[in-house]
Point group: C2
Chain length 287, copies 2
Amino acid sequence: MDDRKLLETVMDIVGRENCLDDCAVLPCGDRFMVATTDMLHRTTDFVPGMTDWQAGWMSAAVTLSDIASMGAAPKYVLIAVGLDDWRSLSGVMQGAKDCCTRFGAAIIGGDIDRHDELTVVTTGLGLVDKDHLVRRTGARPGDLVCITGTPGQAQARLDGYPQYEKALFEPQPRVDEGQILGRAGVSAMMDDSDGIALSLYDLMSVNPCGFSIDSSRLPLPAAIPADQARELALYGGGDYELIFTIAPGRFPVQGVAATVIGTAVPEKAVMADGKPLEKRGYQHHWK
Amino acid sequence: MDDRKLLETVMDIVGRENCLDDCAVLPCGDRFMVATTDMLHRTTDFVPGMTDWQAGWMSAAVTLSDIASMGAAPKYVLIAVGLDDWRSLSGVMQGAKDCCTRFGAAIIGGDIDRHDELTVVTTGLGLVDKDHLVRRTGARPGDLVCITGTPGQAQARLDGYPQYEKALFEPQPRVDEGQILGRAGVSAMMDDSDGIALSLYDLMSVNPCGFSIDSSRLPLPAAIPADQARELALYGGGDYELIFTIAPGRFPVQGVAATVIGTAVPEKAVMADGKPLEKRGYQHHWK
């Protein structure tokens, strides 16, 4: 059992339309509010060597990334902290606060609980003009497929490249880029936190098209053998880059460093270099 | 170390003004949005004998109760579920959905994670007209102190009275009552989830007054010796009644079954029957 199969159970109960995007979308005056929640905890998410401050930073960052992927500006974060050791609290809270402050959001509330292991759940709320909201749906055949930054760095640290520790321990959500891309009219967007391959499959599942990428165009982390670097970018977890589709005439977008890695195609398939791309990446598994 | 002391650490980092109420308050068009998050988990909150459905119901109910205590209408719930056994998911989600549906809210998003023990974090969003928002602050000397329903029932089940199982396992947040009380102009309100005594101390900490109650006026659960029943109501956890203060001329409030148990007084003290009330109740503790 993996989390994408479990999501089907959730869809049956709460409705498919509530499970299609990185955030829920609510009316809020003349704008939209977007809302998202993420659970992280020690054994799965907080890698040995991370400080409490970094655990807090990461917890806020993953939620801000979801908001960024909708083209919205993060505004408010709620944080629930389950503590095995109360001494972790101030570091976790300070890290979360520093990340929120850096990206224009404020911590407005929370909960503290006693727990077997450090567990942090952040809920983020953002605002976006109705015209600039971006969803996972909206991709059209012929659109370019693009990615911000250099994917694969977080997984590179997990696979033995210590120079990429900061990418894994202190991820930088693409908050400014998300809003610029929303205003520029990208057609679909999500973050690549489970790797590029799974992201493309997720996008295909909600769009009437597939995707064909050219792996030689992937921007790759430096000082890693090319084959391994490609593997990290396609299948690694822990990155918070934005993957988006955009009409060719709208690219490049001023103010956003992004690379074209392929195109949306009429066929319902995800292809890399003319062959089907393996459907794997970061997932939770249950026995 | 207990959670009220840890809250001081949080206040120092995120600001005292963000920690004073059951919910944060945000502008949303011409109304206020209120937002709250709560973490529950198996070892602390989900009592042996509870079904997955009841764990989901309770998880939604505690968050809806926080929204009710601000006088707001619950609208949206996000739910993050940490699962030791994936088979729990459908029951938990169905219970949370049924509770939300009963009280006028919808589940709009969530997250699924693998975890050592069942852990559920619900985040609730509600809406309220600006004039009808109720906070913990606002109590004035001379106000009546009132409570809805019959407190002590949830703790009665924990202390060996099986007839009160439903009160503990399927708490009914006072969603309708909270909104009626907000429109009726109550001066301060919170829920009594940590017991009446701690709630009164919490209210005193943010108001320029104290409280004097008459324990003989407490509505008590039936078929329990009176001394024990009073103890359960004052110091027990797991109830989700609303405790509020109101100017005498505004009470009773049509449509709300509530009992006057005392008055707000100029002295900064919490008294019961003329003696200081013990400051204890449900709290998390860390070594």
